[in-house]
Subunit: 211 residues, 4 copies
DNA sequence: TATGAATGAGTATTCATTCAT
DNA sequence: AATGAATGAATACTCATTCAT
């Protein structure tokens, strides 16, 4: 029992598999991939292990994704899409005057809650940012766009100082990304202990923008 | 000791030359590695390719580095050491009142001039930060320490507002790291076009600290 | 179940054939391995060479065996299983009074006919002896047990002197193993020229036991 | 300190080395080799490790031995020579009538006390047995010859039954080798618990010969 | 006498991918 | 829709050995 060829393992897994609900296989793959990715990291991420995890043969994955790259990209993109949604939601649900603050909050929260995707898109494979969305995803939300829009509108409303909205948005971005990415790589900063810093940072930004 | 036969002199010289040669190859390896690293990225970085790049057999690398890990670490660490030196230099050469600004400047400059090492130490292998320096490097400078010290001293001198120096330093860090790392991953931001943003950011920080 | 469409029959046959093919290749590998093992010896035995011998890529072997260790173990174990069968057969087919003699005969014959496996299990990797059988082999026969049983029964029947059966069996073992292993390593002793010695030895043992 | 190239390790070792007495280097090598061999086994025995153990560079070993094979052979041969000496000593020091028994005793004792060499010469590299002694060793004692001589003389003296001395010697050999090699590979038999068996075996042989 | 530098061959193993079924 | 068989390429690493010094 201990010694098993991969093929043998597959056979066993294959039996138990179908039961876990009829979640579409593509979704199953993506989830297994994300999980594997977050445990093994970028380097040791392999299609074979994804296949093993869901109890399908490696070949099967090629029915749903062109190749490893595509799987990675879609995975990252899904995360990124969620990111856009989160920012948009912050935009929508906050009173106009507090939008920027809420967006900052949402930004950092998302990054800390979805470290895998955040790292992949913003720290490891930034080329993904420049790539067009996969065809199937038509509902893409440009997350930086959300921030820029919130900034521009606040300027129009006279709430914050008139400047190049893009530049202002970038300053915001620099801060939230700086904080989030430091937490993701530096063990001294944790989601818990950065709260005071987060607040101070956001207040500083608001003061700065309003001046 | 001053009296030496020619043979003795020769021997020493020969030894020195060889040692020199050894160092040079080590350096060559490190440079090739850095180059490869910056083109191929962390994940596709392989010793064989490094060897190929310098025209030596893969085996040779093992004469200079225990294994892949060590090569990577030394590469990162060398960068990091330069980083400490750069910050320290900024600290030393600036008038006290301008230290923080100069350190910020040096930070970003270094990151943009040494992207490979910066990525490795601050974005990809943050575990290196916690690792003790290789024996040969005794002159290690704790870069975050430099920032903190500059901050603490400025507080003492009454130039900036009294707060937890560590927290203040972290806010600085968040900003410079945020900016630097965005430039490193986002093709829209380049070393050239971030200058205005950099200045604005630093001014904001100074205003914030002085309040 | 008896009623089958042609398609179904075909499918089953196809599956069977494939399974057959799979088994055949596994066997091929094992045979090539044994051959290589006997020519190159334990130390220079490599998977690559096995692969080359059967005209497959090295990778293929991993489809049939988890790793080198498993291949070696299965190879040894297969031999060992045959060994148990041979001893058991000797036990079964000989008249009780002659069992011990026949078992000795079978022992030596087997070792000389299967030198590779014999060496592996009894001379090189004795740790295999202690390892549980691979799952697929449920019909394992404890060969030493066969000898011990034959001895104990002969004692009960009063044919041989009453002693610790295990000790008596070990004395037998020492002799047959001594002879077999000497033949396997010493070029002066060959399967042919040891016959007189074998007979003398067995007679000695029988005399000794009967006293 | 933890991370060291082999070359660096060597340098350090090189300093401390010469002190351990002026044992000839060749001897040092052989001893280190035997030690390494007994801990690492045949497969993982490497010249580099031998060199490392004595604090010399691998190249140095080639000044004393043509290649790895020769080192191994000499090592084995030294053991074998000691073996001859031990048997000869047993022959010399025992009263004629007890010679055979003492030789058997010495045989088993030697094998258990020098498992490394015994395995190498009698179980792993039996080809060494057929190879002529290295030139430097002119005092070679043919161990099997000692046994045969003792047997032949005992026959002459009428102490044991007249037979082909070589055949009789071989029967002895089969028994002592069988016992020794089983102990070396089978964890159930240990130097301690085989004593009764050893005595029984030797008595059996003596009875057999005297008949 | 001893060594540093260098290498070519070899090892086990893992992976992405293809193709026929 | 899914898979089994197979492979070529790659990887880190170790080793015996040579050569110039």
């Amino acid at each position: 029992m201990q010694v098993q060829t991969r093929a043998e393992k597959l056979k066993l897994a294959s039996a138990a598999r179908r039961e876990q609900g009829k979640l579409e296989l593509k979704r199953q793959i993506l989830e297994a991939a994300a999980h594997l990715f977050s445990t093994n990291g970028y380097e040791d991420f392999s299609l074979r292990q994804v296949a093993e995890a869901i109890g399908y043969s490696p070949t099967t994955i090629y029915l749903y994704f062109k190749d490893k790259e595509e799987l990675l990209f879609v995975m990252a993109f899904e995360g990124f899409r969620g990111f856009g949604v989160a920012l948009q939601h912050a935009y929508d649900s906050a009173p106009p005057a507090e939008r920027i603050w809420h967006i900052g909050r949402a930004y950092v929260d998302f990054a800390l809650a979805n470290p895998v995707q955040y790292r992949l898109m913003f720290m490891q494979r930034s080329d993904y940012l420049a790539r067009p969305a996969p065809e199937c995803y038509t509902d893409f939300i440009d997350s930086f766009g959300v921030v820029t829009k919130a900034v521009a509108e606040a300027m129009k409303r006279g709430e914050i100082k008139l400047r190049d909205p893009q530049e202002t948005a970038t300053l915001l971005w620099v801060n939230v990304h700086g904080l989030a990415s430091l937490v993701l790589t530096n063990s001294h900063l944790t989601p818990e202990n950065i709260e005071p810093l987060f607040h101070w940072m956001m207040q500083m930004l608001q003061r700065e923008m309003s001046v």
